[in-house]
């Protein structure tokens, strides 16, 4: 990962099970699973296993394409009842079983074009359990800073907008 300055780790609201932090332009998720590394590797790289867990709750994932080798491409279609299908796609750039892989994680935004970037998964054996680290490159530290900082601001504005509309009604 290229970083131009010394990257500092900043906690981004870790939960009981998952450590979440940003480091430079990367957003990192870490979680230890009570499963051997070989099984984790299969869960991430065998097409028939992906629909069992990939994607937020309430969504279903269909694997359209998944060629797990450097230069191989992948394409998942994510469906959910409350939105249109979203296609995620990209290319595997580094594949080192069973310790991890890197792929590009892309999606198209209407009118904007492809968005996303490289994502690296590392699987470490820790006494029979496996520590999974996902590193997603979000662009620059500023983007992460701004996005997370403005999340709350945006929420506040919506509240005022509603208040203002209410007041306007008289």
């Amino acid at each position: 990962m290229e970083t131009t300055m010394t990257a500092t780790r900043i906690d981004r609201g870790s939960t009981e099970t998952t450590t979440i932090y940003s480091e430079g332009g990367d957003l990192v998720f870490e979680r230890t699973f009570d499963a051997p590394r070989e099984l984790i590797w299969k869960a991430f790289t065998e097409p028939e296993r992906i629909p069992r867990w990939w994607g937020p709750k309430g969504s279903t994932t269909t694997v359209a394409e998944m060629d797990v080798r450097p230069g191989g491409t992948w394409r998942y279609v994510s469906s959910a009842p409350d939105r249109e299908d979203v296609v995620f796609y990209g290319e595997y750039t580094e594949v080192t079983p069973p310790s991890g892989y890197t792929w590009t994680f892309m999606f198209d935004v209407e009118g904007v074009g492809p968005q996303g970037g490289p994502e690296t998964f590392t699987f470490e054996d820790v006494d029979g359990k496996t520590k999974v680290t996902s590193v997603g490159h979000m662009g620059s530290p500023e983007v992460i800073e701004a996005a997370l900082a403005t999340g709350m601001v945006a929420g506040a504005i919506e509240t005022w907008d509603r208040l203002e509309a209410l007041l306007a009604e008289g």
Partner: protein, 126 residues
Amino acid sequence: MQAPDTLSATFAALADPTRRAILARLADGEASVKDLAAPFEMSQPAISKHLRVLERAGLIEQGRRAQWRPRRLRAGPLRDIADWVGQYRRHWEESFDRLDAYLRDLQESKEHEDGDDDDRHTNRPG
């Protein structure tokens, strides 16, 4: 969905700490250029320049009511950016929960399999 150029304009506008500070100040309510310039050691024209960048990015707008044209925040582009990182975060938090449950299922059913079929597997530690 916002216009094509807006997302990159939004990112560019947010890259500057002074502009982020201005947005944070506006999060407390609308303010005049003079009010916004006060916390910074900057001239009003310098602040106005930042305000124009924020305005072009669609992050703020000028109020219509008062003569002093207070600036206020606009929710749209901010929400779009926050959404993207928020959704990415939600994706991994929830996928990890689902993966955890899936792995438990697998290992439970595997234990049964192992018990039924001792010839196929050698005993593993742990």
